[in-house]
Structure formats: C-alpha cells, structure tokens
C-alpha cells in the first residue's frame, strides 16, 4: 500500500503564539482507518487542519516541517487544489451545513469543482444512496436530528470523492443511536476503499473500527500502533475515564432506603405539548433528599424538556410540581433559581463576564444571598483557584464546564440539575466531574444528571429514570435496570 500523506516533523503555533504541535511525524497509507485521539487541547484537531492545507494557508501562524499529500508539499498547493483530494468534516455540524437544503449542501462542493449540472445531480443521487439519506435531500439542515446532520455533513464532503476523508469529532453530542448511525456509515465508506482519519476524544468502543491508532498529547504523538495495544496508554492518559468506586456509605442502591426520607421534589401527572406535539406524557416521580438521580434516554426523548419544567422555564399543560411542599407552577425561573439550579449543556451560553470570579458571583448577586466561605469551598472543590482572574472564554472545555457548574452551585441550590455534563468533555474531565458529584452527594446535595452517557450515569447516580418518547419507561437502581 502506498503512502498518501506524509507528515514530517510538523511544528505549528497558532497566531497569538499557542504552540499546538511540537514535532509530529507519521505517514498515512492508502485504505487505512486511522483513529487520532487525545484530550481537549492536545493538538488532534490541528493535525486535521494540517492534512488539508488549512495550516498554513488559512490559519496563518508559524509552521515548520512539511506535509506531503500525494507527492506534493501542501505549502505549494492552495486549499482549492487540495480539497478534492483531502476532505475535512468539521466538528460543528451547524457550521458545516450552510445551505438551505441537504441537496444544496451536497451540490456546493461539486459546483466549486466546476462540474456540469448533470454530473452534479448524478453525484448527489449516488452519495445519498450510499449513505441512505435520499429521504433527507429536500430537508433544511435545521429540520435534521443530530445524527442526520452529521451524516449530511459527511455526505457533503464524500460526494466530492476525496481520496482521504478526515472527520473531526463526528460522535460529539450524539446519543448511542446517532453514534451507531454515523459509525455504520463510516464502515461502509471505508469498505468502499477510502482512507479515513477519525479524530475523536471518545474512544470507548469505537477504537475497534480503526486499523491504526495515534494518541496525541501536548502536541506530540505518544503512541502510534494497533488499536488493540492502545488500551493501556489510553487508560494511563485518562482518555478512558476511571470513575471513582462508590463507597458503601454513598452506595444506596434502592429507592426503599428513602421510605422514611423526606421528599424534596414531587412531579405528578405532568403533561407537556410543544408546537402541537406531546413531548411529555403522564410523568410522575418523587425525588428524595440526598438522592443522586440519572435521567436517561436518547436525544429527543424529553429529558431536557422535563428538567426545564423543574425550574419554571416551561410551564406544563397539566400536572403538579412541588418542591419541599411548595408549588412551583406559575413561578418565574428567577424565583426558583435559589432552590433548583440547572447547568445546561453548552457552558458558553452562560458566560458574559470578563473574569471567572465575576461569573461565580453573578448568581449570588441575583438571588441576593451571601454565604460566608461558600465560594472558597466551591473554588476548592472545582479546582478553580488559579483561574479566578482568567476570562471564561479562554478556558479549556473541561475548565469551562467546571466554571459553568460552579456558577450554578454558587447559589447554593437544594437540587442541582446537570444537562448532558459530559458532552464535549474528554475522559479526564469526565473523571473529575464524577469525583466532584460524588463529593457533593456525600455532603447531602440532591442531584439529577440528564445524560445519554451510561458509564457516567453508572458512576454518579444510584437511581435511573429512563424516558422514551416522553414517558417514564423504567425507574429504579441501575443494577435492576441493567
């Protein structure tokens, strides 16, 4: 098998000075399925930008070494000459899909190649057939599910017929069903003879699809070999999270233990309609003080809609919500924030202050409370002491998530709800979050974690509530649910 891409001692610093790659050497051979993994900020996405000439042509910065694509140095080729050979699917599917329908999306790259209309139509039909997305062609991108968006993004590059397909975190923010869909498509594409470079931080279970694995750490390759041999280094580097083992004190497996405990939150026969659709149907459950609950279900099952009812963001069509015996229906979220704190999936939605410490203080000011020493405790627990004067926008993904949760916890709510806390987080960060949640649970805080990450749910919750199509289908300890 011949080499299609050769990377020789590549060193790269982004404009502004951040050194992303510190001497990277590897060769990609034709037909390979290469899995590039690493923690957030390790330089793995930068490798993707390197292979199709975005570095140095688009990003600028300082680049040393060389990248040879099919015998030509990327320095001497423009991106418009490289993109028909090396295709890149970006992590953010919303940015990747910028046309008004999926078929226009597929057509865009082909129009750039200057193909005749007849050829463009043929390629669209061929690609759609290969990825089973014929039924999506007329749909606008905002009417696609997460998994469908990802496949439409892949199709938009695949129809150009590149020899090498690079995918930057294609599994990010997808549930198990979406991941399986994308994974099946990738296997099909690889079987058709294409070289695949998959850049991911989620290694659990997907590594086996690859024929070779590269582990990147702080801009250097620390492992290059068979995926089967990578397990040890992935665990030692924290890319596969090692969750804390539950201590007997914390491991209260059954709900019966709470028979005599006080009910903190009671949801009774809750119904919700949104845009004419029944999103939640007859939801009833009680949460007891000190309980750690995981709310599970695939994307669109109603998890986020349900938690938005618990702090007044949504009002139900029918049903009751009581918190400590007090009715929450009709109250504004600003009145409930001190009782029920919710941290949503994207930390960037929360940040608007210049410094982390101001972010932490915002919630406290809003609920007009001053808890002596509480902020210090939170900073210690979330390991934020060194970040207080930093801008929240310049933090790593893991740090952003910790600041976002800490800023909610600063209001000292009695119930802390986290919506998809592991989305976009690497193994180390997930591990750290699980430890923090365990500590909070030991101190008696009641928590609900809405997630589709089953391993994380196993680590942080002793009760699982499973939603499917807006209904609770199972409720009990994880062991009995299985």
């Amino acid at each position: 098998m011949g080499a299609c891409i050769q990377v020789n001692n590549a060193q790269y610093a982004y404009p502004g000075g951040r050194q992303a790659l510190k001497g990277v050497d590897f060769t990609i051979t034709k037909g390979e399925f290469l899995f590039v993994c690493g923690a957030n900020g390790s330089g793995k996405s930068t490798i993707g930008y390197l292979l199709n000439g975005l570095i140095p042509h688009f990003f600028g910065g300082s680049f040393k070494g060389s990248v040879i694509v099919f015998g030509s140095d990327t320095r001497k080729m423009s991106i418009s000459k490289l993109f028909p050979h090396v295709g890149l699917v970006l992590q953010n599917a919303d940015a990747q899909l910028f046309n008004s329908s999926v078929e226009d999306e597929l057509a865009f790259g082909l129009e750039s190649l200057g193909l005749a209309p007849k050829h463009i139509e043929d390629r669209i039909v061929e690609t759609a057939k290969m990825l089973d997305i014929e039924h999506l062609l007329k749909r606008p991108p905002d009417k696609l599910s997460g998994g469908e968006k990802r496949i439409a993004g892949i199709a938009s590059i695949l129809c150009i017929k590149p020899s090498v397909l690079i995918l930057d975190e294609p599994y990010a923010n997808l549930d198990q069903q979406g991941i399986s869909k994308v994974s099946r498509s990738l296997k099909k594409i690889h079987a058709s003879g294409l070289t695949i470079v998959l850049i991911e931080q989620r290694v659990d279970g997907y590594l086996k699809d690859a024929s070779r694995c590269i582990v990147v750490e702080q801009g250097k390759i620390i492992f290059d070999g068979k995926p089967g041999n990578a397990q040890k280094i992935l665990v030692s580097q924290g890319l596969i999270p090692k969750y804390p083992k539950r201590t007997p004190k914390n491991d209260f497996p059954t709900r019966t233990l709470y028979r005599n405990s006080e009910i903190l939150l009671s949801v009774n026969q809750l119904y919700c309609d949104l845009n004419g659709k029944n999103i939640l149907k007859n939801i009833s459950f009680d949460i007891f003080k000190g309980q750690s609950v995981a709310l599970l279900g695939k994307n669109g099952s109603g998890k986020t809609t349900l938690i938005k009812h618990l702090n007044g963001l949504y009002q139900p069509k029918q049903g009751k919500i009581n918190f400590n015996g007090q009715c929450l229906i009709g109250k504004d979220p600003s009145q409930i924030a001190a009782l029920v704190g919710i941290s949503f999936q994207n930390p960037n939605d929360q940040f608007f202050q210049n410094r982390v410490e101001d972010e932490l203080n915002t919630g406290l000011r809003m609920v007009r409370k001053d808890y002596q020493g509480w902020l210090e405790q939170i900073c210690h627990l979330f390991q934020l002491q060194g970040l207080l004067r930093s801008s929240p926008f310049k933090l790593s993904e893991g740090e952003k998530k910790r600041v976002a949760i800490a800023s909610i916890l600063a209001m000292k709510p009695q119930l802390l709800i986290l919506d998809e806390p592991t989305a976009g987080q690497d193994g180390r960060s997930k591990q750290m979050l699980a430890k923090i949640l365990e500590k909070l649970s030991q101190e008696g805080l009641t928590t609900i974690v809405a997630t589709h990450d089953l391993e994380f749910a196993q680590a942080v919750a002793n009760r699982w509530i499973i939603l499917d199509q807006g209904k609770i289908v199972k409720d009990g300890p994880p062991v009995s649910i299985g």
């Binding site: 953010n92 200057g114 463009i120």
Partner: protein
C-alpha cells in the same frame, strides 16, 4: 409545464410592493388588504400567517400609537394599514421564493456570487440563531437572572448579548473554515440549476408591469 423563473417571481413581488406603496385612498388600501387576506386563505398559508402575525401586530400597534400622537387617528389608521399590507404581502411573496431560487435569480441578474451567498447563508442561519438566543436566555434565567420585559431588568439583558456575540464570532470562524474546505474560493464554479426565461415568464412580467402602471396612474394621476 416549466415553473416560473425566480426572476419573474422577484419582478412580480417588486410590482406588488410598489402597488402597496403607491396606494393612497382608503378604497385602495382596504381593497389591497382584502385581496392579500383572501390570497393567504386561498393559498392555504393561514398557519404561517398567524405565526407571522404575532410579530407584526405589536409593530403595527406601535406605529399606530406614534402616528396617532404625531398626526391624527385617520392618518394613523391609513399608515398602519399600508404597513400591514407591505409586511404581509412581502411575507406572502417570500413564501413562494425559497432561498435557493432567490440565489439563482439574483445570480442570473448578475449580482456577485459573494453577495448572493451572504444573503442565502444569512437566511439559513436565522433559525439557528433563534435557537441560540433561546438557549442563552434559558441558561441565564436558570442562574436567577430576571429577563422579563421590565425597565428594572434592562441591565440584565447584557447577559444575553455577551454570549450571543461571542458565539456568533465563533460560528463565523467555523463557517469560514467550512466554506474553505468545500472550495468557496474556486474560480471556475459551476451552478447546478440554470434558469431560463420562457414565454410564460415574459407574459407574467408584462401583465404585472401593465397592471402596476394602470394602478399608479389611477391612484396618483401620473
């Protein structure tokens, strides 16, 4: 039969808007209002119309109050009806010109590709930005920030603006990368759809311009 060319639709739309702007007498304004509303129901566009109405009515009400205070109730009513006709007829026109047709039509009218691309991409990102605003609003309200429309909450709206600006810049950067990796800058770009004017297009153009001319003459005496 070949569908109407987007350029014809654009000219027809421009003629309708010119007709609405030229209307002065109450008879014309009310006739146009009746015609537009009938068209909405006949073309089965009632559902999106009521959706748009939620945004249009507060705006019309605001204009009515301001013009009533500045002029009198008669002028305020006429101005409000004209504005209503203008907004609703524009809504109806764009129901029949999807973004890709609009782009195709403008391109054929020799508008530079960069500008046409900007326009259609902006349309594509409207629902995305709406969703983004909703997410930011909900995240901030969950932190106890009161974002109800009250004077005392004015300062709190910074909490919406900051994240929205930052995320818009991030999205713009990522969009630029996405465009680049699909050859946005290529010089020999082709187009999947080629639009050609047919007999029907010329007929529609001539009839609409003729009706507009007669109407303007009747309304203004020009």
């Amino acid at each position: 039969m070949k569908p109407i060319d987007p350029r014809t639709k654009l000219l027809l739309g421009a003629a309708i808007i010119a007709g609405v702007l030229a209307a002065k007498s109450p008879v014309s304004l009310f006739s146009q209002l009746t015609l537009i509303l009938s068209a909405i129901f006949l073309l089965k566009k009632a559902k999106p119309f009521f959706h748009v109405l939620k945004m249009v009515v507060p705006m019309i009400f605001f204009v009515f109050i301001i013009s009533w205070l500045s002029f009198d109730s008669y002028n305020a009513l006429m101005l409000s009806i004209r504005l209503f006709n203008l907004l609703i007829s524009s809504f109806l026109i764009f129901q029949y010109i999807p973004p890709e047709e609009l782009a195709g039509g403008l391109r054929k009218m020799k508008i530079p590709f960069g500008f046409v691309f900007l326009l259609t991409t902006a349309v594509r990102f409207v629902p995305l930005m709406q969703n983004k605003i909703r997410c930011i609003r909900e995240a901030q309200m969950s932190r106890g920030i009161d974002l109800r429309l009250k004077v005392k909450n004015t300062k709190n709206f910074m909490a919406l603006l900051g994240p929205l600006l930052v995320q818009s810049f991030i999205l713009a950067d990522e969009l630029a990368v996405a465009m680049e990796v699909r050859g946005y800058g290529c010089k020999n770009r082709s187009f999947r759809k080629d639009y050609r004017l047919a007999f029907l297009d010329y007929a529609v153009m001539i009839v609409s311009v003729a009706i507009l001319t007669i109407f303007i003459h009747w309304e203004t005496g020009l």
